[in-house]
């Protein structure tokens, strides 16, 4: 106690200690191990040895460029769709929900109470060839007579959008809920129509929520493999599927580790570009 009294400046660091230890043990150590693995060579039968095998990276990029690209494409589209779906929804809840606000929020989060796998399996039924969605789409000509939704990119993107919607909706809700309704009155008082008030006041003030929501959706979506596996075919497979099968089925650790690092680096690069575009001020609120 007297030590802490004499060294008050240390207190914040001591408070940080458990967190730092956690990060070190459960993030940095595995990350280092993964990096080590990604530079190994050999085979499952003969065992892997560390050889600074940087060619693992080059091989991974050239072999799986298609899956990498698809991951970012699907994740990007799903993020935009999730934003487009949840913004009006959450806007309505925040400004018109009244005393039902919390109920609506629980409804948005409710799917998370069901296991990810089961939720995605449910979409198998929803999008089934004889199911109501396909029939309805066929009736209005959105899907050809003998066409299907399952086993297409559409199904995978729909699944990702659905599964990550709460991660978009919640931060958006928080930022919209915080907006003082009197600011919108002030905008209208200053000759802004409802539309202008939205574009000039509501939208910029909800930007932190948009940024947080897109990050929380895009990052895990880019590494997702469940949706492509259950709702798609190998022709829709994403980089997550490749990593998963290399790690667990082919036991090709170096390639899997190298792909993981490539994915991480690409996501980081995408983040940096994004931060540049929206401005770091918005990222930090």
């Amino acid at each position: 106690m007297s030590f802490l009294h004499r060294h008050k400046g240390l207190t914040p660091y001591l408070l940080l200690l458990p967190g730092i230890a956690w990060l070190a043990v459960f993030f940095l150590v595995p990350l280092g191990f993964l990096g080590y693995q990604s530079l190994e060579s050999g085979s499952f039968e003969s065992g892997y040895t560390f050889t600074w095998s940087f060619s693992n990276y080059w091989d991974a990029i050239t072999t799986y460029d298609e899956q990498l690209l698809r991951s970012f494409l699907y994740a990007g589209i799903a993020t935009i769709l999730a934003l487009a779906v949840s913004y009006p929804l959450v806007y309505w809840i925040a400004f018109r929900g009244g005393r039902w606000k919390n109920l609506f929020l629980i409804l948005i989060v409710a799917p998370l109470f069901v296991t990810y796998l089961v939720r995605t399996l449910a979409w198998l039924n929803i999008l089934a060839d004889e199911g109501p969605v396909v029939s309805a789409f066929q009736a209005i000509g959105l899907v050809a007579e003998d066409g299907r939704l399952l086993a297409t990119g559409i199904a995978v993107v729909a699944g990702i959008t659905y599964n990550f919607l709460p991660f978009m909706a919640l931060p958006l809700y928080v930022s919209l809920e915080q907006i003082d309704a009197r600011l919108l009155e002030a905008a209208e008082d200053l000759y802004a129509s409802k539309r202008q008030a939205f574009l000039r006041v509501t939208l910029p003030l909800s930007a932190p929520g948009i940024v947080a929501g897109t990050l929380l959706t895009f990052i895990p979506a880019a590494g997702d493999f469940i949706n492509a596996q259950l709702l798609g075919t190998p022709r829709q497979s994403m980089v997550g599927n490749v990593i998963q099968s290399k790690f667990l089925e082919l036991i090709d650790y170096p390639a899997a580790a190298a792909l993981s690092f490539i994915l991480m680096a690409l996501i980081l690069a995408a983040l940096l570009v994004y931060a540049r575009i929206v401005g770091t001020e918005r990222l930090t609120g």
């Binding site: 002030a186 209208e188 008082d189 006041v201």
Partner: protein, 365 residues
């Protein structure tokens, strides 16, 4: 320019606003002449903000008509009304700089960028905020934010400026300073101001005309001197300044009999029956020079600088007297001494013997 020069800037006709069962505004009619500084004064909850919001277009009147100039604006959204508001909470846009906040209205009106810049600079000069253009609202003090809110509204040069307790969040010293500042600005730009406040001193300092509101209605409308010298209800007499109210009955033209049988003179203007008569504490002298007289005994006296406040017990109740400290040291009578209170009939007003109201400071007997 079909509009006649004499039409008032704001006209309300029997305006009513109900929130469910609650009647927040209960039939208000008034006219606010062009260029005037008009105050809506009343206790909290009497419907001032609601009235202002109906003029601004944020609340739809349940019934009645509202005119801005010659135009009936009922049903018109705020952005189509030629009025601007200084909100109680300022409602500055937190994501915009001061300059962008002030430019907002002009830009929405489609005014050319060069002119917007000039006018923003001019108005920031007027409210003494030049040099703060690129700050964000949260980087300014409360008083500065208040002036940004004012600048943002008046830069649009509206027909009417609505101010909802604009000084309510400021400390006393700054509030006094801003009262004079607002009056100067209003004088300089000549826009009609409608100022909502619950502070009678603020209303009297600033406004040319005051409407005293109570329970969703206008109790009395007039100049500050009118309201102070000739209040028409016990509520107004109590809400503006201090007054002594005594129960009595009008027995003849200009004659009121008090409960102890003594008679006082007042201008009764044809009223009859049970009334209260009132006199302001500073109008009473502790000598027997006036026409209206009451004998009493000093209960207590307190030296308050500009005057000595003397409470006198009489046979009709307690009266408060502000005895001017003309001589150095203040020679107020000591507690227990017998005094005669006297005042002029012109300083005596007659009001209905009604509910004195919740903020009243008068002594009703």
């Amino acid at each position: 320019m079909s509009e006649s020069m004499t039409s008032p800037d704001v006209r309300l006709e029997e305006v009513v606003k109900e929130f469910g069962e609650m009647r927040a505004v209960d039939g208000i009619s008034l006219e606010i002449p062009r260029g005037s500084f008009f105050a809506l004064l009343g206790p909290s909850g009497c419907g001032k903000t609601t009235t202002l919001r109906m003029i601004g277009g944020f609340e739809e009147a349940t019934s009645g008509r509202i005119f801005l100039g010659d135009r009936d604006v009922v049903g018109l959204p705020p952005y189509k009304r030629d009025v601007n508001t200084v909100f109680q909470s300022y409602a500055l846009f937190p994501h915009m700089t001061i300059a962008d906040n002030v430019a907002f209205g002009l830009q929405r009106k489609g005014i050319a960028r060069a002119e917007v810049n000039t006018r923003v600079a001019e108005i920031l000069e007027l409210v003494d905020l030049a040099g703060r253009e690129s700050r964000k609202p949260r980087q300014l003090s409360g008083g500065q934010q208040q002036r940004v809110a004012l600048a943002r509204a008046i830069v649009c040069n509206p027909r009417v400026l609505l101010l909802d307790e604009p000084l309510g969040a400021l400390d006393l010293k700054l509030r006094k300073q801003m009262q004079l500042e607002l009056k100067r600005i209003q004088h300089e730009i000549g826009i009609t101001f409608v100022h909502v406040t619950h502070d009678q001193e603020e209303a009297m300092t600033m406004a040319d005309t005051i409407a005293v509101m109570n329970g969703g209605r206008i109790e009395q409308l007039g100049t500050p001197a009118d309201l102070y010298e000739r209040p028409q209800s016990a509520f107004v007499a109590g809400f503006l300044g201090k007054s002594n109210l005594l129960a009595g009955t009008i027995t003849g033209e200009g004659l009121v009999r008090l409960v102890d049988g003594s008679e006082l003179r007042a201008s009764t203007n044809g009223t009859r029956g049970p009334v209260s008569i009132g006199v302001r504490p500073e109008k009473i002298s502790l000598s027997n020079g006036g026409v209206n007289r009451l004998a009493g005994k000093v209960k207590e006296s307190a030296y308050i600088g500009v005057a000595t406040e003397v409470v006198v017990t009489t046979s009709v109740g307690e009266l408060t007297v502000f005895h001017q400290n003309v001589e150095a040291g203040g020679v107020a009578p000591a507690p227990g001494s017998q005094v005669t209170l006297s005042w002029a009939p012109e300083a005596t007003f007659v009001v209905d013997r009604g509910d004195p109201g919740d903020r009243g400071e008068e002594h009703v007997v």
